[in-house]
Every structure is written in structure tokens, then in C-alpha cells.
């Protein structure tokens, strides 16, 4: 670089930069043919131990009403929807009923990871994402989804995305995965963009990361980011919104309280408020990417640790899950949705009985939710263990009857054609996949 740069030299340099940017390996647009597969997989980690027995209430089990007085009473009274005479869907998932009837929503009940007894969120989530049998021997430093990616050819910059601010151990590992959160808006004036390119140019690490950041954020429909002068009001408003999103530790809690002025909303305002919620932004971003070259996306939804007042908190959490799935579908568009499977899983279930504060404590088996156009759904899978005292795990929790990893493995076998040996040894070491549950069409 010369001693001083006048404006003309600067402009010439910017032009040169344009070329070098395009040459960066991270910015090379992924051609459609480069993606080796057409199918898409979305993994949602429900952090905090989602209560499978509330998502999918076994109201047909004669012991249910005794364990959870109130939850099993007339299905009409609670608004829960009967699925098959044994299970009823939590009322907050009612917006998903049309998917269920079309076979695009399904469940597996009474499943768990191999994790037992300690019931720690941290360890439970680590194990769920590591996909291993236990956490000994330094496991938990990479995730099963990343290990899966290592066994398929043609991974490109945008093939797989970990989305949001939560650490996704699930996606960690040596395979290339893009991390992005749609609320990290890189709103810069055009002048600042050019200057930043210049400032970063001689440092390849920064130059490539900046170029990719511009690409990722520039693709955001809300943005027009690089082209739009930044306004402080926008930035602060945007920021406040995100803070609300982090208010309850981590990713995407509701921020209805912040968004809701007193005296209620008009319908338009409600929709707008919804669109600004972090989970909605994440789902919209993921959907848009999956419509394009992205094949794998993973993110978290929080707020499942319902030790008290479960009626309310579970309704809110499931409302977000339902929004998320519908937003994914809507932003993905028909053809991509038809090739998509969404799987939502949690670290463990919760106690079979209500505790003393209208909630449930950490348990063992839970439920797995599946959705998407590629799904052979409209049913509840799994071997129901029953709920009598002796059927329960440690006389307190729903008994796991199958390893949740088996279903994830069969999904990946069906979607991406992975060998059973690879799945049982590399992706989920020590897993016995067992019989094919026939999850896909």
C-alpha cells in the first residue's frame, strides 16, 4: 500500500477488490448440481426437556388421569385434538392438525437418548447432540449431524447451516458448516462497506469472513442491507428486539411482552409482532436457505423446562414450535417442502406425575416430533410402555422403549442413502438401528 491514498487510488482499489472477492472460495456461488442430494433435513433441538406426555397426551391410557388430574379430562374441554384414540395433541399444536391429516406431521413416543438417571440439562443436551452412548472419553466435542456430513460428498459453503445464537454442538466438527443468525444484520452504508473491504483486504481470515457475511446478510430480504443507509433508530430497535430474544437464557424466547403495547393489537400489528420474534426470523431464514442450495439446517428452541405453571409455559413453547414449522413450510415453498423432513428432539422427557407446583420435573423418555412433505406421517409411532406404577422408569418417568437416535439414523438413511454401518459406527457409535420404522414416503 502506498504512503497515502487519494480518492482515485481508493476507487481503483475498490474495483480490484471486487475481483478478489469473487475469487474467494467462500463466496463462490454453489451451483445446484453441486449439491449431491435433493432431500432436506431440519433438526430442531428443544432445549430444557420438553414434556412428551403433554405434547402428546396419552388420554386413552387408563392411568393417565391419575397421574395428571385435569390433563386427561374430556378432550373437548381442553381443546386437545384426538389423534388415534390413545393420544391427543396439545391444544397449542392445533394449527398443525391440517399437516397431520395430510400425513405431514407425525410423532414417535416413549423415546430417549441413552442418557439415564442424572437428568442434567447440560449433560443431556451434550449427549443428544454428540449422538454417543455416554459422555465419557472426551465425547461431546463434535456432533452427529456434522459427522453425518463428513460421509456425504459435495459439501459446499451453504450446504449446512447452524442458525441462531445457541451453540450447536450437533453441527460442530470438521465438516464445513455455515453459522448464521438472521438478526446479526450487517447494516452498513455503501461507503462503509467499501471501506471495510479495504481495511480487511490484507488479512485473508477477515477478508473472507467479511465477504461471506456480506453475502449471507445481503441475501436477507428484510435487509437490502448493503444498499441501505443505516439509521440509528433501526439499529437500536433491532437490538432491543434481540435482547428480548435472549432474555431467558439463549436463543429464542418469546418477546410478546416487549412487543405488546397495552390495550391490544390490531391483526396487522399482531402479525408484525410475530414476524419480529426471533424464532420466526430463524425459521424464515432457514426456509429461504433450504429453498435454495442448503440441505441441512439446525437450530434450537428454548423454554421447555416447565417446573411450574406448565399449562401456560407449555402453551407458549408449543405455540413457538407450531409457528416455526408453519413458517418453515411457507418460506420454503412447495417443491422444497415436499423433499423436507423436520425433526424436533429434546434431551429427555419429564416426570409422569404433576409435581407440587403445577409442572413436571426432569424425567427420562419423551416424544419426537416429525414434520415435512417427505414424511410418511399422520400417525404416532413407538411402543407405548403404559403408565402404571410398575411401567414407569424408576417409578417416576415415562419408560423409554427405543433409542431416539435410531429414528434419526433411519431418517438419514432414507434421506441421504447412508450405509447402515456408517450410521451405527461413525454417526451414532454404538447404536443398534433395529427395524425400519418407515418414516418417509
Amino acid at each position: 500500500m502506498t504512503e497515502f491514498l487519494n480518492r482515485r487510488a481508493f476507487l481503483a482499489r475498490s474495483a480490484a477488490l471486487g475481483c478478489s472477492l469473487a475469487a474467494s472460495p467462500l463466496v463462490t456461488p454453489v451451483s445446484f448440481a453441486a449439491a449431491p442430494w435433493e432431500n432436506r433435513l431440519v433438526v430442531i433441538i428443544l432445549r430444557g426437556a420438553a414434556d412428551g406426555m403433554d405434547i402428546l397426551r396419552p388420554y386413552g391410557d387408563r392411568d393417565f388421569a391419575g397421574l395428571r388430574p385435569g390433563a386427561g379430562r374430556g378432550i373437548d374441554a381442553t381443546g386437545a385434538q384426538d389423534l388415534d384414540g390413545l393420544f391427543a395433541l396439545h391444544p397449542a399444536l392445533a394449527p398443525l392438525m391440517p399437516l397431520y391429516t395430510r400425513g405431514q406431521l407425525g410423532f414417535v413416543h416413549a423415546v430417549s437418548t441413552p442418557y439415564r438417571d442424572k437428568r442434567s440439562h447440560f449433560d443431556g443436551q451434550d449427549l443428544l447432540e454428540a449422538g454417543t452412548v455416554d459422555l465419557a472419553s472426551g465425547a461431546g466435542r463434535d456432533g452427529w449431524l456434522n459427522r453425518m456430513l463428513q460421509h456425504v460428498p459435495g459439501i459446499e459453503a451453504e450446504t449446512a447451516y447452524a442458525i441462531g445464537h445457541d451453540e450447536m454442538l450437533l453441527m460442530k466438527g470438521t465438516a464445513q458448516v455455515a453459522d448464521w443468525s438472521p438478526d446479526v444484520g450487517l447494516r452498513l452504508s455503501p461507503q462503509a462497506v467499501r471501506l471495510a473491504e479495504m481495511v480487511m483486504h490484507d488479512d485473508p481470515l477477515f477478508r473472507d469472513a467479511f465477504a461471506e457475511a456480506m453475502l449471507l446478510s445481503g441475501g436477507d430480504a428484510q435487509g437490502g442491507l448493503a444498499a441501505r443507509p443505516m439509521r440509528m433508530q433501526d439499529m437500536v430497535g433491532d437490538m432491543t428486539g434481540n435482547m428480548g430474544g435472549n432474555a431467558m437464557m439463549g436463543g429464542m424466547e418469546p418477546m410478546a411482552a416487549m412487543a405488546a403495547p397495552e390495550g391490544g393489537h390490531t391483526a396487522a400489528e399482531i402479525n408484525k409482532a410475530k414476524r419480529n420474534q426471533p424464532h420466526h426470523k430463524v425459521a424464515a431464514f432457514a426456509g429461504k436457505k433450504l429453498r435454495g442450495d442448503t440441505r441441512i439446517a439446525a437450530f434450537s428452541l428454548n423454554g421447555w423446562d416447565t417446573h411450574q405453571g406448565q399449562d401456560r409455559s407449555m402453551g407458549q413453547a408449543l405455540g413457538r414450535l407450531s409457528d416455526t414449522i408453519l413458517t418453515l413450510r411457507d418460506s420454503m415453498g412447495g417443491p422444497a417442502w415436499q423433499k423436507t423432513t423436520i425433526v424436533a428432539m429434546t434431551e429427555f422427557g419429564r416426570t409422569a406425575r404433576w409435581n407440587g407446583s403445577g409442572g413436571t420435573d426432569h424425567g427420562t423418555a419423551g416424544a419426537m416430533l416429525l414434520a415435512g412433505g417427505a414424511l410418511n406421517g399422520g400417525r404416532v409411532l413407538g411402543d407405548w410402555p403404559g403408565l402404571s406404577e410398575s411401567d414407569l422408569y424408576a417409578r417416576r418417568d415415562l419408560m423409554p422403549t427405543r433409542d431416539v437416535r435410531a429414528h434419526a439414523a433411519w431418517l438419514m438413511r432414507g434421506l441421504f442413502g447412508l450405509d447402515r454401518a456408517v450410521l451405527e459406527r461413525a454417526v451414532f457409535p454404538g447404536l443398534e438401528m433395529g427395524r425400519d420404522p418407515g418414516l418417509l414416503l
Binding site: L26, R141, H165, E167, L169, D202, M230, M243
Partner: protein, 461 residues
């Protein structure tokens, strides 16, 4: 041959340049300040863990009372009190984080803060539930900070016996299978190897060293008996201890009456092991100098560690005396906390900013920003702490979050300086010409200052 330079000393071994605080003049001064009074801590106090235990005691007492009153209105009231205590701790946690930043922004003794940060990460501990989730800064204040100038063995003993560490790595749950307590509890009692494993793998020998699962198991048996209580803090409880001697790396410990001295002896031996010396030397060189340090530097630190019996002041002196430490090109990327701290040092926000702002503002300018940059504060995913590799931080998302911070937050905290002056104040001779140009050419102060802060020259050290 590269040698000491005051500006580089502040950037690489401190927390960057300040427009008002003169850089440290010599290696001798850097070391002398370390052994002098802890002025940074006096100016910006953080609660000790002993004080923090008072909160735990009170909460435990209220919770006990509440269980008796469950379902009654008085019980609800007590529940509310617990909520308030948790909220208090949350707010104080944000203030402590802010003060830790201010120590770096305003302190004379930058190297001390960096060393505290390094060792706090080496001995990562965090609370997994309840009030303890807020206890990391108090743990560092009591169990790390006072010991950074002693021997490494002192530090290992202090960290291993810290209540937060016993909690974090499950030592609290470990009971000797043949102990008296196990006999009473039956099948529910058992060994937990977590702490023993991490002491060997992370804190002392390093994962590549020669030790076996048997050593882990034996050390775990030796560790039984160590617990903490809110009332007393650390406690050695004989009835949990596994009877008999244990052999770790071929050396036998204990065998008589269960005794904390046996545990201490094993920790001291592990701390002074040659594999530990090399492990620590490598980590210091990577953290302070480069992701790929000159092997000669690691050799020199290892040798000094072993020659001095793990005297940390000697090891720091060897680091600062080595030419490889002073190569003029800026190297490592600052982790997010260090980036923000150095930006504060250059921008000079009010020293009492975090004592006067409300919780929401603190969260907006600090915790949420760190999370966006990939460093949710005091919540690394594992006991191995934060990564050192530049690539772990400068991802598209990580860099975008840093740029977002640089463009948005300073304006909320200070009256922005002229970017043309700021580039000098923040980087002096380390500002490359394109950055000086950008500082002049930016459309606004905000973008000019933001570009300086976001630049590789400022992000590296």
C-alpha cells in the same frame, strides 16, 4: 532481534492502548506491578466467593422454610423472595462483568488482568443451576486471582478445591464405593470421575500425556471426601472417602486415615510433572503470542517452569524476556470479551457505567453482545474453556457481530472521538495506511470509529 516495545506490551500482553494511560515502560515494570498491590481489584471490587456463600445460605434457609409452607400463601411469599434473590444475583453478575471490563479499561496493570483471564479459562468452572450460575466471577476472585503469582501447584490446589469447581465437575456427587457413606446409602452411592479426569486431561498433564484410565479412576478415588456446603464452603468429609491407598502415575497416596493432605500431595506432584510443564508452557505461548508459537519459546517456558519448580513469576519472566514474544506483527485475534475490553480502553467510557445503568441496558451493551460474538460470558460449552484459534472467532457471524458492536455500541456509551485521532489513540504505529485512510474517508464519526474497531489491526494483538 525483536525486543520489548511499550506499545506492543500493552496490545499483546495488556488490554490495548489508552489515550490517557501511559504504556508500561519495561518488562521489569510489568513484573513489578504484578507483585505489587492489586489496585485494579481495589478500584473495581467483585464479590468474593465467601460473601457469595451468604446468598446461598440465605436461599437455602428460605427454600427449607418454603417446603414446609407449600401451598399456603406464606409459601408463595417465600417463593417470591427466592425469585428476588435470583434477580439480585443476576444484576450483580452483570455489574461484576462490567467491572471486570473496567479493570481492563482503566487499570495500570493490564498484564495482571490478562493472566487472570488466562487462568480463569484454564480452570474453567461454572454453576449449573440456581444461584451458582452467577458464581463464576466470585470463584475467580477467590480461587484464581490471588494465586497467579505463586507456584502453579498453589493454583492447582486452589482451583481444584474451589466449591464451584467441585460443583461443576460433579465432585460433589462422588462417593467412595467402599466408604462409610456408601455403606449407608447402598446402590445410590458411587464414584464420579469427572473432576479427576479433567484435572489430568485439562488442568495438569494434558490430554496427550502418558496416563491411563486406571490413573483417572485412582485419582477419582483419592478425591472422594472433597465437597462443599453453603455453610462452610470447602469441606473434607471423611465418611465419603474411599479407604486405602491410591496409586496415581506410579506414586502411592494415602492409606492411613482419609486426609486432605494426601489429595494435596497428589495435586502438587501432578502440577510439577514434566508433562504439565510442557502443557502449560504451550498454552501460555499460544494464548499470549500466536496460535502457532515458535517451538523455542515453548521450550524456554518449559525449562523455566521445571527449573523453578513451577514458579509462575519465573515463567512469566521467561515469556517476556523471549524475543519470539515481541515479533512486531500483530498475531492472535482477541476473543470477544478482550475485544470489548480493549475497545473500552481506547474509548474510555465512564468507569462507573455498570454501577449506574439498569439491568436491561447492561444486557444490551454487554451480555447479549458477547453472546452474538460467540462468547456467552462465563458459559463456555465445556471445561476446556474458550477456543484459542483465530478461526473459531472470525466466522462470518462472529465478525458481523463484532462489526455490529463497533458501529452501534460505542455511541451509546461515550461521545465519539474524531476517527482520525482515534486511529492513533487506539493503534499508534500499528495502524496500517488503508485503515488511516478509512478513518479519514468514513461518512460519519460513527462509521469511522466503527471501522477502526472492526479492523484486523485492532482485532489482533
Amino acid at each position: 532481534m525483536a525486543k520489548f516495545d511499550p506499545t506492543l506490551a500493552e496490545i499483546r500482553f495488556g488490554n490495548g492502548l489508552s489515550p490517557t494511560i501511559a504504556p508500561v515502560p519495561s518488562v521489569g515494570d510489568m513484573l513489578a506491578r504484578l507483585t505489587g498491590p492489586d489496585l485494579n481489584a481495589q478500584s473495581f471490587p467483585i464479590e468474593s466467593f465467601d460473601r457469595f456463600r451468604d446468598r446461598m445460605k440465605l436461599k437455602q434457609a428460605i427454600a427449607r422454610e418454603r417446603r414446609k409452607l407449600r401451598g399456603k400463601p406464606e409459601g408463595k411469599e417465600l417463593q417470591k423472595q427466592i425469585k428476588l434473590m435470583q434477580k439480585d444475583a443476576r444484576i450483580d453478575w452483570a455489574r461484576w462483568t462490567g467491572r471486570a471490563m473496567m479493570r481492563r479499561a482503566w487499570g495500570q496493570d493490564g498484564f495482571r488482568e490478562r493472566l487472570v483471564g488466562f487462568w480463569a479459562d484454564h480452570f474453567t468452572a461454572q454453576g449449573k443451576r440456581g444461584l451458582l450460575r452467577r458464581a463464576t466471577a466470585p470463584y475467580v476472585e477467590d480461587s484464581i486471582r490471588p494465586h497467579i503469582t505463586g507456584t502453579f501447584a498453589d493454583l492447582v490446589v486452589a482451583a481444584t478445591t474451589a466449591p464451584l469447581m467441585l460443583h461443576y465437575l460433579d465432585q460433589q456427587l462422588s462417593i467412595g464405593p467402599n466408604s462409610d457413606k456408601a455403606a449407608r446409602m447402598g446402590a445410590k452411592a458411587g464414584l464420579n470421575e469427572n473432576l479427576a479426569r479433567e484435572v489430568l486431561e485439562l488442568h495438569t498433564l494434558g490430554v496427550g500425556a502418558q496416563y491411563s484410565q486406571d490413573d483417572v479412576r485412582q485419582l477419582a478415588e483419592l478425591f472422594t471426601g472433597m465437597i462443599y456446603t453453603p455453610q462452610q464452603g470447602f469441606k473434607f468429609q471423611k465418611d465419603r472417602a474411599e479407604p486405602g491407598a491410591e496409586t496415581v502415575l506410579g506414586v502411592s497416596y494415602g492409606g492411613g486415615k482419609p486426609n486432605i493432605a494426601d489429595i494435596r500431595a497428589a495435586l502438587v506432584d501432578l502440577a510439577n510433572h514434566p508433562a504439565t510443564a510442557r502443557h502449560i508452557a504451550g498454552k501460555l505461548a499460544v494464548h499470549f503470542v500466536s496460535d502457532t508459537p515458535d517451538p523455542a519459546l515453548v521450550d524456554a517456558l518449559t525449562a523455566r517452569f521445571l527449573d523453578s519448580g513451577g514458579d509462575l513469576m519465573q515463567v512469566y519472566a521467561a515469556l517476556l524476556d523471549h524475543p519470539a514474544a515481541w515479533q512486531p506483527d500483530l498475531q492472535n485475534v482477541k476473543p470477544p470479551f478482550d475485544f470489548i475490553a480493549s475497545a473500552y480502553r481506547a474509548l474510555q467510557p465512564r468507569a462507573d457505567f455498570f454501577d449506574t445503568e439498569d439491568e436491561k441496558t447492561m444486557k444490551q451493551v454487554m451480555a447479549s453482545q458477547l453472546t452474538r460474538m460467540g462468547q456467552p460470558w462465563e458459559r463456555p460449552t465445556g471445561p476446556d474453556g474458550w477456543p484459542e484459534e483465530d478461526e473459531a472467532w472470525i466466522t462470518p457471524q462472529g465478525l458481523a457481530a463484532r462489526m455490529h458492536w463497533a458501529m452501534v455500541i460505542p455511541e451509546r456509551m461515550v461521545a465519539l472521538p474524531d476517527p482520525r485521532d482515534f486511529v492513533d489513540a487506539a493503534l499508534a504505529g500499528h495502524a496500517p495506511e488503508p485503515l488511516r485512510f478509512a478513518a479519514r474517508a468514513a461518512e460519519s464519526r460513527r462509521e469511522g470509529v466503527g471501522l477502526v474497531l472492526a479492523s484486523p489491526a485492532f482485532q489482533r494483538r
